[in-house]
C-alpha cells in the first residue's frame, strides 16, 4: 500500500506534472472566484488541452483545477458575498459579515488554512477508506439516501435557532422549486408554467448567484456605504491570526473535514450539502449559536474544511462506480474516459498509481491555492472599502453575465434576477436562505430515492425500519427534531431557577 502511495507521489513530483498542476491550480482559483463558472466550466474548457497529454499529466491538471476552485470561491464569498461556486455559499453566511466588520483578512486567512487542512485530512481519510470504499458506498441505497436528504434538511432547519418555523418554510419552498421540470419517473413536465426553459428544472447555479451575490448587492445598495460598515476597522494584516484561529478551532476543522469526507463519498449528494451540513453542525455544537450569521469564525472554518475534504472523497463514487457526485465530477469523468481510464471497480485495481497521483495532486493544489490566496489577501481585502455605488453595478453586471455564461442562456439571467429579488426579500423578512438552498439541491434526489424506496418495498413504508443504516438515520432524525424543544425546556427551567435564586436574595 505504502509503495503505491509513494509511486503516485513520485509520479507527480516531475517538472512537467508539477507545471500542469500549478497551471490547473491557477485556472481553478480564477474560475472559482467568478460567480457562475466554477470547476465544471474550467474542466470543460481544459478538456481540449488534455488531448496531447498522457493520462497522468491530464489527471495532475484536473486535480490542480479541482483543488484550486474552492479557495477562489471562498475569496469572493467572503469579500463580496458572491460565492464563486455553489458550496462556497455556506462561507458567505459568516465570512461576509466578518468582511463587513473589517475582518476580511482574518476570514480569508482562516478560510485558506481550513481549506488546506481540510484537504489534507480529506486525503488521509480517503487513503484510509479507499481499500474498503466499495463496501461503504454499497451501504447507501435509495432508502438511506432519502433519509439522508431529510436529515440534511432538518439539521439546517433546527440549526436556525429562533427561526425554526421560517427555516422550515424556506426549506419547503426550496423543495417545491426543486419539483419544477421534467420528472424522470413519470415522464411528466411539472409546474413549468408552460416555460420551456423550466423543463430542466430550476437551475441551481443561477439560483445561487441570485440568492447570494445579487441579493447582497441589492442589500448593499439599499444600505449604502461600503461592504465594510466602518472602513477604519479594516484589518488586512490579521492573516496570520486567521491561520492561528483555525488551529485554535481544531475541533471544527476535524468535524468539518470528516463531514466533507463522508458526504463526498455518497453519490449524488455533492459539496453544497457537505458545506452547509458542516456549517449547521458547527452551529449546533457551538456554545454561542446566536453569533452565527453575524461573523463567527467557526462559520467560515467549518464549510471550508468540508469543501476540500469532500473534493477528495467524492473521487470514490466517481472512480469506483462511475457515479459522479456533481457537475464537476461529471466533466472529470469525461477526462478519464478520454484518456482510456474506464471508471468502475476494476479501475481501483488496474490504475492505482494514477488514482494515488490524482489524490496527491488534489491535495497539493488545495495547499498551494491556499498559499496563493493568502498572498493576495491585502489587495483583495481593499475591495471591501469600495463605495457600494461603484461596486454594486460592476458586481451585478459580472454576476448576471456569469450566470448567462453557464450555458449561454439568457433565461439564466432572468432566473438570477428573480432569485436576487427573492433573496433580498428573504434577508428583509429574515427567512434563512440556507434552508432554501439545501432543499433546492436535495429535492430531486430526495423525491427520486423516495419513489425507488417505495418500489423496493411494494409501497410499504416499513422498509425504512428494516435496514440498519436507515434505523440509525431515523434515530438521528428524532434526536434532531426533539433537541430544540428539550433545549427550550432546559433553558426555561434554568431561567426559572435563576429567577427564583434572584428573588430569594
Amino acid at each position: 500500500m505504502l509503495q503505491l502511495w509513494w509511486n503516485g507521489l513520485h509520479g507527480l513530483l516531475q517538472v512537467r506534472e508539477l507545471m500542469f498542476l500549478g497551471l490547473g491550480m491557477f485556472v481553478g482559483l480564477f474560475f472559482g472566484a467568478i460567480p457562475g463558472l466554477g470547476g465544471a466550466t474550467a474542466l470543460a474548457l481544459l478538456i481540449p488541452l488534455t488531448y496531447g497529454l498522457d493520462a497522468f499529466t491530464a489527471l495532475a491538471l484536473a486535480g490542480g483545477v479541482m483543488g484550486g476552485v474552492p479557495m477562489g470561491g471562498s475569496i469572493t464569498a467572503i469579500l463580496l458575498n458572491a460565492p464563486g461556486t455553489a458550496p462556497s455559499a455556506a462561507t458567505c453566511l459568516d465570512g461576509h459579515p466578518m468582511a463587513r466588520q473589517g475582518k476580511a483578512g482574518l476570514a480569508i486567512g482562516a478560510a485558506a488554512s481550513a481549506n488546506a487542512i481540510g484537504g489534507i485530512i480529506g486525503t488521509i481519510s480517503v487513503l484510509a477508506i479507499l481499500p474498503i470504499a466499495k463496501e461503504l458506498v454499497l451501504l447507501f441505497g435509495p432508502p438511506e439516501l432519502f433519509l439522508l436528504a431529510v436529515v440534511g434538511l432538518v439539521i439546517v432547519a433546527t440549526a436556525s435557532r429562533g427561526r425554526m418555523l421560517r427555516s422550515l418554510i424556506a426549506g419547503g419552498l426550496g423543495l417545491m422549486m426543486s419539483f419544477v421540470g421534467y420528472n424522470d419517473l413519470t415522464a411528466v413536465q411539472r409546474f413549468t408554467l408552460g416555460i420551456p426553459y423550466l423543463w430542466d428544472g430550476v437551475r441551481v447555479v443561477p439560483a445561487l448567484i441570485g440568492l447570494f451575490a445579487v441579493a447582497e448587492m441589492i442589500n448593499l445598495s439599499v444600505r449604502g456605504g461600503a461592504i465594510c460598515d466602518d472602513p477604519k476597522t479594516v484589518q488586512i494584516n490579521s492573516m496570520m491570526n486567521g491561520l492561528l484561529e483555525t488551529f485554535r478551532h481544531w475541533r471544527t476543522v476535524v468535524r468539518g473535514s470528516l463531514i466533507g469526507t463522508v458526504v463526498g463519498a455518497i453519490p449524488g449528494v455533492g459539496g453544497t450539502v457537505a458545506s452547509f451540513l458542516s456549517y449547521s453542525m458547527a452551529m449546533q455544537a457551538s456554545k454561542d449559536p446566536e453569533s452565527f450569521g453575524k461573523g463567527n469564525i467557526d462559520g467560515v472554518i467549518a464549510p471550508e474544511a468540508a469543501i476540500n475534504a469532500k473534493d477528495c472523497s467524492c473521487l470514490i463514487p466517481t472512480l469506483a462506480f462511475g457515479i459522479p457526485s456533481g457537475a464537476e465530477m461529471a466533466v472529470f469523468l469525461g477526462i478519464l474516459i478520454l484518456h482510456g481510464l474506464q471508471p468502475g471497480p476494476l479501475m481501483l485495481i488496474d490504475h492505482q498509481v494514477e488514482i494515488y497521483g490524482l489524490i496527491w495532486a488534489l491535495t497539493a493544489s488545495c495547499v498551494l491555492a491556499s498559499f496563493v490566496g493568502l498572498l493576495f489577501v491585502r489587495p483583495l481585502a481593499m475591495l471591501t472599502l469600495l463605495d457600494s455605488q461603484i461596486l454594486v453595478p460592476i458586481v451585478t453586471a459580472v454576476a448576471l453575465v456569469g450566470s448567462y455564461a453557464i450555458d449561454r442562456s439568457i433565461e439564466n439571467v432572468l432566473l438570477t434576477a428573480f432569485f436576487g429579488i427573492l433573496g433580498y426579500a428573504m434577508i428583509r423578512f429574515e427567512y434563512p436562505r440556507l434552508s432554501m438552498v439545501v432543499a433546492l439541491v436535495l429535492g430531486s434526489t430526495a423525491e427520486r430515492n423516495f419513489h425507488q424506496t417505495m418500489m423496493m418495498g411494494d409501497g410499504n413504508p416499513f422498509i425504512f425500519f428494516n435496514r440498519t443504516v436507515c434505523r440509525v438515520l431515523i434515530v438521528l432524525l428524532i434526536v434532531l427534531l426533539v433537541s430544540p424543544w428539550l433545549r427550550g425546556f432546559a433553558g426555561n427551567r434554568r431561567a426559572r431557577i435563576l429567577a427564583t435564586q434572584g428573588s430569594s436574595r
Binding site: L165, F179, S221, P393, T396, I421
Partner: protein
C-alpha cells in the same frame, strides 16, 4: 365621509396582526402560492404528484402556523415563543423607496440585457447607475462604464471564448 386608513383600522393602521402588516405579508404570500401549487399539483398523475403534494400540504400547515404566530393572542404568542422567536435584530433596513428602487434597477438591468445584449446593456447600466444613483461626475461615469464593459468582454469573450449575448433586438436567441 373621508375613509382614511386610520378610520378603518383604528389608531394603529399598520398593525392588523401583532406585528406590522408588512411582516405578515410573506406568510400570506407563501400560503397563497402553496394553494396555487396544490391546485396545479392535483392535475398531475398520482405518482407524479405524490411527493410534491405531500410537501405542499406540510408547507400549507407551516404557513398557517406562521400566520397564527403573528396574531396578537395568547396562542399566537405561545407559537411564536416555541417556533419562531426570531433571531438577532435585523440589520439596518433602508426606506421602502430605497428598497423598491434597488429592485427596480436590478429588474431594469435584466430587461436591458435581454433586449440589447451584454455589450450595450452593461455600459448603459453602469453609466446610469453611477450617474443617477451615485451622482458621480460624467467623466468618471464614462470611465466606469468603459472599464466594466472591458472587464466583462476580456473575461468572458476574450479569455473564455464565450459568445456574448447580442440581445433580442439585435438577433440574440
Amino acid at each position: 365621509m373621508n375613509l382614511t386608513p386610520k378610520r378603518i383600522f383604528g389608531e394603529s393602521p399598520k398593525r392588523i396582526f401583532g406585528e406590522g402588516w408588512i411582516d405578515a405579508l410573506p406568510a400570506m404570500v407563501i400560503l397563497a402560492l402553496t394553494v396555487a401549487f396544490l391546485i396545479v399539483g392535483y392535475r398531475y398523475p398520482p405518482l407524479a404528484r405524490q411527493f410534491p403534494i405531500t410537501v405542499a400540504w406540510v408547507i400549507l400547515a407551516l404557513a398557517g402556523l406562521d400566520i397564527a404566530s403573528r396574531i396578537d393572542s395568547p396562542i399566537g404568542a405561545a407559537l411564536k415563543d416555541r417556533l419562531d422567536r426570531g433571531g438577532a435584530a435585523a440589520e439596518k433596513i433602508g426606506s421602502r423607496r430605497a428598497q423598491f428602487g434597488a429592485v427596480v434597477w436590478l429588474a431594469g438591468f435584466a430587461v436591458l440585457l435581454w433586449l440589447f445584449g451584454v455589450l450595450y446593456a452593461v455600459p448603459l447600466y453602469v453609466f446610469a447607475s453611477l450617474r443617477l444613483r451615485g451622482y458621480r461626475p460624467w467623466l468618471r461615469c464614462l470611465l466606469g462604464a468603459a472599464t466594466s464593459t472591458a472587464i466583462v468582454w476580456l473575461l468572458f469573450s476574450a479569455a473564455l471564448r464565450i459568445e456574448l449575448y447580442r440581445g433580442i433586438i439585435f438577433g440574440g436567441a
